[in-house]
């Protein structure tokens, strides 16, 4: 197991380096700079000094070299906008983003997986049809629109929840953003679970179990569920990465103080160190979650070995 983990960690290094290089090159070639985004009527002399101070006059390869050297020591650089260390900025934002993503994931798994299961147990029935309508709708609805509808309904009309903000970070502020973010993966989990369960239900080992006289409850519990979990876990892992990206829209809509809103402003203002740092954290989180899921495969399905 340890050698497996070590190997996987080594494999992440080229991925991280590729992402770092890609983001750096992209933001070196796109037009616009922090200096021009600071104000519509900035002073040219100040702009020149700012460019020099931020090292924007240096050739790209020099800047990249400096960035990589700093990164190797865990230094993400200093934000062009706030003049604070990027690590410090991200540290302040990571918890709200994780809160949001874990809550959205919990919502989507708790609703989506049982929905898919129930739908698959009676394929073609009314529950299946309704579940798939919900799933297709959930995948099709734009998050921005859904967020506004939820705000309108639960904040303005029913008055149950606040329409925006982080408040004290408590549950009542988290519900609407989490549901907005979680509807799409919920729909995906429902569809994936349904497909996986349907396939397993017709597998030879399930037929054998039934022929041995095992009750349907035991068949579903011991054979179908465990086997379906591998597929579901894979989807969960992939969805973590997707949610980190999609959180941008939700965080901006609800004034949620996460990495997503930091990323949006940093991109718009060409705050390159903050963009690089934010993307790197998203990528590292994605890799970490997927590594964890690889480990869980072996726990769920003993046939999977880390040779």
């Amino acid at each position: 197991m340890l050698s497996f983990l070590f190997r996987r960690l080594l494999q992440t290094i080229p991925t991280v380096l590729a992402v770092v290089a890609l983001v750096f090159v992209l933001f070196s070639v796109v037009p616009g700079s922090i200096v021009s985004s600071m104000s519509d009527d900035a002073d040219p002399q100040v702009e020149l000094r700012m460019k020099k101070q931020l090292g924007l006059d240096d050739p790209v390869y020099v800047r990249f070299g400096i960035y990589i050297a700093k990164l190797a020591t865990g230094d993400f650089g200093t934000s062009f906008r706030t003049r604070e260390p990027v690590t410090f900025m991200i540290a302040k934002r990571i918890w709200p983003t994780l809160q949001l993503i874990f809550a959205a994931m919990a919502f989507s798994v708790v609703i989506g997986v049982p929905l898919g299961f129930i739908a698959a147990l009676k394929p073609g029935g009314i529950v299946d049809t309704l579940a798939m309508v919900v799933a297709v709708s959930g995948l099709s609805i734009a998050k921005f629109w859904l967020g506004l509808v939820l705000m309108y309904l639960f904040a303005l009309k029913l008055g149950w929840l606040p329409s925006f903000g982080y408040g004290d970070g408590g549950m009542k502020y988290l519900i609407l953003p989490a549901v907005t973010l979680g509807v799409s993966p919920m729909a995906l989990f429902a569809r994936t679970t349904r497909a996986a369960v349907l396939e397993i239900m017709t597998a030879d080992f399930v037929r054998t179990a039934r022929s041995k006289g095992m009750s349907e409850t035991r068949v579903v519990k011991w054979h179908v569920t465990r086997n379906a979990l591998v597929t579901i876990l894979t989807t969960v892992g992939l969805q973590f990465g997707a949610l980190m990206g999609q959180a941008v829209v939700v965080e901006k809509l609800y004034s949620w103080p996460g990495i997503g809103s930091l990323l949006v402003d940093s991109v718009l203002q060409r705050d390159i160190p903050a963009v690089q740092g934010s993307i790197l954290v998203v990528v590292l989180s994605f890799l970490a979650i997927n590594l964890l899921i690889d480990v869980l495969y072996g726990v769920i399905d003993p046939r999977i070995r880390y040779a």
């Binding site: 600071m38 104000s39 002399q45 100040v46």
Partner: protein
């Protein structure tokens, strides 16, 4: 008799109720919104000149001057008097002796000098340097040739002498938050960036990046009885639709409105009374590059102004959320010429002018634009068929706002559409068109006109305010005649304000920038 007594008594009660309603209430929380992005840039206001950041800075900090919306000009704030000498170049400020920083220390002349020296630190490139540079010797500090600004002298703890390089009103240079006075001892510390200390009516409590800034009343604020509110919460809300829901749900007290919401609020009986509006000192225009041959001819530029039905665009597309521009200086400028009439819609005259200029069949140009809904792609799309009517074809080049700013400053365009600050100082706004002003500064159309230069130079040298006004108005008229731009509109800033929030000032420089010590909430506010 009884009836008369009843009427008099009723009137008396009504008057008493009105008087009570107008008496500012102490306490409560003001909940403002910061609508221009997903976060604040920095808690060090010297590093940023974004409108977004000045919203909170108006509560936390104070500068030597402050913008007075009622008078439409900057007035002394941290100084009690300004004695001018030395042919208008030397200003001796008597500072307030009752201004205390949020750490309890009294402000002195040393703080003012330290602050301006900090802003001129060339290695840090603070944006406020453009204003402080007007003090003699400030440029030398910026270039690293001197350690302190020679034109700033401490006479005593509460008196400071400032020698300027130009004969200008220092109020227009030292009222913005980017020249806020910092406490010399505290601001140099690292912790200042996390917990800023200022001289404003509210002191810092917390900043949740990307969400809000909370400030509470500073009891030792120098204006007696102010501020009224106990607390201010400034929430970052970049999404207009989300602000709309929050405003209707009474979760926020102010919300900036876009064109579509402006119409919706005006048509809603419950919300109509919440709308406040002001003509801001911003002019929207299409700039034409004289290096592109057709635009070098004044007749072509005038033809474009005649070809476009500007009122139609303002009414239908901008939903009336703008004022028709006549020339460069906006409606709220003290020098705005009310007698000047905007270019009429006259396609026949436009065609005639084009023919006279040698373009009877028109020509084609590239129009660089951002996606901005009020002065970007939607406007360009509406104008294209109007220009087509007179034979001018426009090809759209769409870029991001940050890129547009670079394009405009570098002159790498044939035409562009933009929104530019044209105030509050009319002299500075017009000086942008002086041939000595670099294109990268604000002479974006690289305008060169000897008659205009002469008028601006004479106005700069004149001590007679009336004569200066006359000269600058003439310069504005030259711009109208030369038409270096298509004069589109002056921004109408619109904000919805909850009925319980009182004292909102119609600030023509930026409506969201409120002198918060004058704001108060009555007892109907749902905020604790």
């Amino acid at each position: 008799m009884f009836r008369i007594v009843a009427i008099v008594a009723g009137l008396g009660l009504a008057l008493a109720a009105t008087a009570e309603a107008q008496t500012p209430r102490k306490g409560g929380t003001i909940r403002m919104t910061a609508p221009y992005g997903s976060s604040f840039t920095s808690l060090d206001i010297h590093t940023t000149q974004r409108a977004q950041d000045e919203i909170y800075a108006k509560a936390l900090h104070r500068s030597l001057y402050i913008w007075n919306s009622a008078e439409g000009k900057p007035v002394l704030e941290l100084a009690k008097e300004d004695v001018v000498s030395g042919g208008g170049l030397v200003h001796t400020f008597k500072l307030r002796d009752d201004a205390y920083f949020h750490n309890g220390r009294k402000m002195t002349a040393d703080d003012v000098i330290w602050t301006y020296n900090r802003i001129m630190d060339g290695t840090k490139a603070y944006p406020g340097a453009r204003y402080v540079r007007v003090i003699e010797g400030a440029a030398a500090v910026e270039k690293g040739q001197a350690k302190e600004i020679s034109g700033l002298k401490k006479i005593d703890d509460s008196t400071i002498e400032m020698k300027l390089t130009e004969k200008v009103d220092p109020g227009f240079y030292f009222w913005n938050a980017i020249t806020s006075i910092y406490p010399a001892d505290e601001a140099a510390k690292e912790s200042f960036l996390q917990k800023p200390i200022g001289l404003g009516p509210f002191k810092f409590v917390e900043h949740v990046p990307g969400s809000r800034i909370v400030l509470e009343r500073w009891d030792r604020f120098y204006k007696p009885g102010k501020p009224y509110a106990d607390k201010i919460v400034v929430s970052v809300m970049g999404e207009a639709a989300a602000r709309d829901v929050a405003f209707r749900n009474k979760e926020i007290d102010t919300s900036v409105l876009g064109p579509a919401q402006y119409v919706a609020y005006q048509n809603d009986a419950d919300l109509k009374g919440t709308v406040v509006e002001v003509a801001e000192v911003f002019t929207r225009y299409m700039g034409m590059n004289p290096a592109f041959k057709p635009f070098a001819d004044k007749r072509v530029r005038q033809a474009i102004n005649y070809a476009i039905d500007t009122d139609l665009i303002i009414n239908k597309l901008v939903k009336g959320k703008a004022y028709r521009a006549t020339s460069w200086l906006p409606l709220t400028s003290p020098l705005y010429d009310k007698t000047m009439k905007p270019y009429a819609v006259d396609p026949a005259k436009a065609k005639q002018l084009l023919a006279e200029a040698g373009y009877p069949s028109g020509f084609e140009f590239e129009w660089t634009t951002s996606q901005n809904e009020s002065w970007g792609l939607p406007i360009v799309s509406a104008v294209i068929p109007m220009l087509d009517r007179v034979g001018i074809k426009a090809k759209v080049k769409q870029v991001e706002t940050a890129v547009l700013a670079e394009v405009v400053r570098s002159g790498d365009y044939q035409a562009f559409i933009y929104s530019q600050a044209t105030g509050p100082d009319p002299q500075a706004a017009l000086k942008c068109f002086h041939s000595a002003t670099p294109q990268s500064a604000c002479n974006y159309m690289n305008f060169k006109n000897p008659e205009f230069d002469k008028l601006i130079d004479e106005a700069g040298q004149s001590d007679d305010a009336a004569k200066r006004t006359q000269l600058l108005q003439k310069a504005n008229a030259v711009l109208y005649e030369e038409a270096p731009v298509w004069f589109f509109n002056y921004n109408k800033a619109v904000m919805a304000v909850q009925p319980w929030l009182k004292g909102v000032q119609l600030n023509a420089t930026e409506l969201t920038h409120q002198n918060v010590e004058d704001l108060w909430v009555d007892e109907t506010s749902p905020a604790k």
